[in-house]
């Protein structure tokens, strides 16, 4: 089956995205990594939807894409606001909310 390796690809993509979120400090890159994770999920949906001949997975992909677009818009907005405030896009600099 041509699709049998696709979940594996998706898992690798997801892991790359997750590790990126954890180790990168630039907010833009973190947002990009989140996109990567979301698209890994989308890939999983698509491959299983194809395999199981079900439309539900495809529909879910569109939902995820919509949410991801909204998330990217809000996330970039926050990044810009933060950058204007402190001339930095480093998430470790944004640490006012602590004890």
């Amino acid at each position: 089956m041509i699709t049998s390796f696709l979940p594996l690809v998706a898992a690798v993509l997801f892991a790359i995205g997750a590790i990126g979120v954890l180790i990168r400090r630039n907010a833009i890159v973190i947002l990009m990594c989140i996109e990567l994770m979301l698209n890994a999920v989308n890939l999983t949906f698509a491959s299983y939807a194809y395999e199981l001949r079900s439309m539900a997975g495809h529909v879910f992909i569109f939902f995820v894409m919509t949410v991801a677009a909204a998330e990217a818009a809000v996330g970039l907005g926050i990044v810009i606001a933060v950058f204007r405030k402190r001339q930095s896009a480093d998430v470790d600099d944004v640490n006012l909310m602590r004890w």
Binding site: A18, V21, L22, I23, R25, I30, V91, D92, V94, N95, L96, M97, R98, W99
Partner: protein, 674 residues
């Protein structure tokens, strides 16, 4: 008239409401006095009317559920409203308490004494309190007291009586502490209230027991069913009721509050702590006479406590220097007499003495109030003397009251005291405690009473004045509004006893109208008494003629008079002709002297065995609360803080750190689920 019975307690209550709400701001003094005295006078007139219509009950028609008339028992019960309607008891009895008032010969006597003497004292107070702060407050409390006392007397069931019982206790507390900015007055009020609580607790327990075993709390119904009660149960109930009576009527061991209660204004001492409230216990015991006769053990306890109180309180009065304290111990002692009478089954004698005592003791207190008034507030007998020539009305009336309480023949106290002593001697019980002992205690108390009363008279009215010049200059007889009640009470103190003249003194004519009047209430008691007298005749006086009983009665009267004479002569020698004797005696018997002067150290004893341990318990509980309970609460707080110290380490503010934990959490969850 009888259907207006409910107005008798209600009128003074209206006076209380008017004076209490409007007295401070809107009413002038004359209006306050008019409302206070007027309502009590109306209550007195209504009582007179009601008592007189008790004579021809046959013409009064019963109204079912409202006015129940029992001509045979001379009893009328007026039900105003349903009060408590509870469930069904374990024995199937339905718990319903109507708000009812009963008028029978017993409550009639109390009714007339309370409203009559109460009215005189109200009038007297107008003069006595004229210059005091809180005039409206005083009369409002006094009216509330009258209302509660009348509820107590007229109540047709134990709970209604208990309402009055608690109400008079409250008024007693309020009026003892009338001068509340003074610590001593406030403390005395609290002491009276707390000591009374002990008795009230027993009263409540007795009520519960009565309902559980007799199925009703109405006097008429409960007393009618007393016969089916086991003697031990009857004695148990009787003892609990008697503990209640001990608290209210200041009997050993709960008498300690009454001497302190003298911190209240003097008319209050006359009304509440001499004439009416403190006799409520005697009234209650007499009201339950059938119950007590069913449990004779309780009756014996009543007699023993009464006799002991009569004797010991009389000795405590011997060395008091406060004019009101002497009278206070005298009251305790005379109340002991009444309980002695009730305890030997002579209930009508107890009520008789209650009535005469109300007259002469109210007079003594009001007279002492007049003396204190004249002395610019001085109460110490050692600083009085020679007041005879200044107080033209107070002195003779006070002397009459003294003669009456001493039991000089012809005055009221003689007849009632004589009847009690005669009944006490004739008393026999199954505990081998012969009436002779009761009689000896009574006669000794009579002698002591004469001694301390004449000591008071000699110290206050005779000899040289020992007050300072300033006070001496101000001595004046009290205004008419105070002296007229004194005169009325003096007349009553003389003639009050004439309603109960014993057979032996009326040449065989049956003039003891008082006993006949009360007979419908105490019929079973009378039967028991006759039995006791018969057994006495069988035993100690076997073989004598019936007339010898009368000869014995003369002999007893002579013996009592002898004791009285000894008391008088000793008082005369000690405080008139040879004033150095008391000092010498105190020097010779220092232990006894100190014992008497300090009232047997009973207050100190109570302090040591009750109050101090209680304080220590409180200290312990306070420490327990502060150290243990608070410690527990603080430990919880400290634990929470330690935990949060640890957990707050996670809140770094770094989003990537949160993401890491989030992810680890997600992995852990997956691990767990899959």
């Amino acid at each position: 008239m009888l259907s207006l019975l409910y107005l008798i307690p209600l009128l003074p209550l209206a006076g209380f409401v008017i004076n209490g709400l409007l007295g401070k701001r809107f009413l002038p003094k004359w209006a306050i006095s008019a409302v206070a005295c007027g309502t009590v006078l109306l209550a007195f007139l209504l009582s007179l009317g009601a008592v007189f219509s008790l004579n021809n009950l046959d013409s009064v028609a019963s109204v079912r559920g409202v006015l129940e008339v029992d001509p045979a028992a001379q009893r009328v019960t007026l039900t105003v409203a349903q009060w408590l309607a509870g469930g069904t008891g374990a024995n199937g009895a339905v718990f319903t308490i109507p708000w009812g008032f009963t008028l029978d010969p017993l409550s009639a006597v109390m009714l007339l004494v309370v409203t009559g003497v109460g009215f005189l004292i109200h009038v007297y107070s107008v003069g006595y309190m004229a210059h005091e702060e809180g005039y409206w407050r005083y009369f409002a409390y006094l009216n509330l007291f009258m209302s509660m006392m009348l509820t107590l007397v007229l109540g047709s069931s134990f709970p209604v009586m208990f309402v009055g019982w608690e109400g008079v206790g409250l008024c007693s507390y309020l009026l003892i502490g009338f001068d509340y900015p003074k610590d001593s007055a406030a403390d005395a009020g609290r002491k009276a209230f707390i000591v009374n609580r002990i008795g009230d607790m027993a009263f409540i327990l007795a009520m519960s027991w009565i309902f559980a075993s007799l199925g009703s709390l109405g006097f008429t119904q409960a007393m009618a069913r007393v016969g089916k009660l086991a003697p031990s149960a009857a004695a148990g109930i009787g003892l609990l009721l008697f503990i209640g009576a001990c608290g209210k009527s200041a009997q050993i061991p709960l008498y300690v509050w009454l001497p302190d209660a003298m911190a209240g204004p003097t008319p209050v001492s006359a009304l509440i702590h001499a004439a009416t409230m403190v006799t409520a216990g005697v009234y209650m015991v007499c009201r339950c006479s059938a119950l007590y006769l069913q449990g004779p053990a309780a009756l014996t306890v009543v007699a023993v406590v009464g006799a002991l109180t009569a004797l010991l309180a009389a000795t405590m009065a011997l060395r008091q220097n406060d004019i009101k304290k002497v009278l206070a111990y005298s009251t305790v002692s005379q109340l002991g007499y009444m309980f002695l009478a009730a305890g030997v089954g002579a209930f009508s004698a107890a009520i008789f003495h209650l009535m005469t005592h109300a007259f002469f003791k109210a007079l003594l207190f009001l007279g002492s109030g007049s003396v204190i008034h004249a002395m610019s507030g001085e109460q110490d007998l050692r600083k009085m003397g020679g007041l005879k020539k200044f107080l033209g009305v107070t002195y003779p009336t006070f002397l009459i009251a003294t003669l009456a309480i001493a039991g000089i023949p012809g005055l009221s106290g003689f007849f009632s005291k004589d009847e009690i002593l005669w009944k006490a001697l004739g008393h026999e019980n199954r505990y081998g405690l012969g009436g002779t002992w009761f009689w000896i205690a009574g006669v000794a108390a009579a002698g002591l009473t004469t001694f301390y009363m004449f000591r008071l008279v000699f110290l206050a009215f005779f000899g040289e004045g020992r007050m300072d010049e300033e006070t001496k200059h101000h001595i004046h007889e009290s205004p008419k509004v105070m002296t007229i009640p004194l005169m009325v009470l003096a007349v009553l103190s003389v003639v009050g006893g004439w309603v109960g003249i014993p057979k032996s003194l009326s040449f065989g004519a049956d003039l003891n109208r008082f006993e006949h009047f009360l007979a419908p209430v105490f019929e079973p008691a009378a039967a028991e008494e006759a039995h006791a007298a018969a057994s006495l005749a069988d035993g100690s006086m076997a073989g004598h003629e019936a007339g010898s009983g009368m000869g014995l009665e003369y002999l007893l009267m002579l013996a009592t008079l002898g004791a009285v004479a000894v008391g008088f002569v000793l008082a005369y020698r000690f405080y008139r002709s040879r004033p150095e004797i008391p000092q010498r005696l105190a020097g010779r018997f220092p232990t006894l002297g100190n014992l008497l002067a300090n009232k047997y150290y009973v207050d100190e004893l109570y302090d040591a065995i009750l109050v101090q341990p209680y304080w220590r318990l409180c200290d312990f509980l306070s420490a327990f609360d502060k150290k243990f309970i608070d410690g527990l609460v603080n430990a919880v707080g400290a634990f929470t803080e330690v935990c949060s110290q640890f957990i707050k380490l996670f809140q770094t503010g770094q989003v990537r750190r949160y993401a890491l934990w989030f992810m680890l959490g997600a992995i852990a969850l997956l691990w767990y689920l899959v």
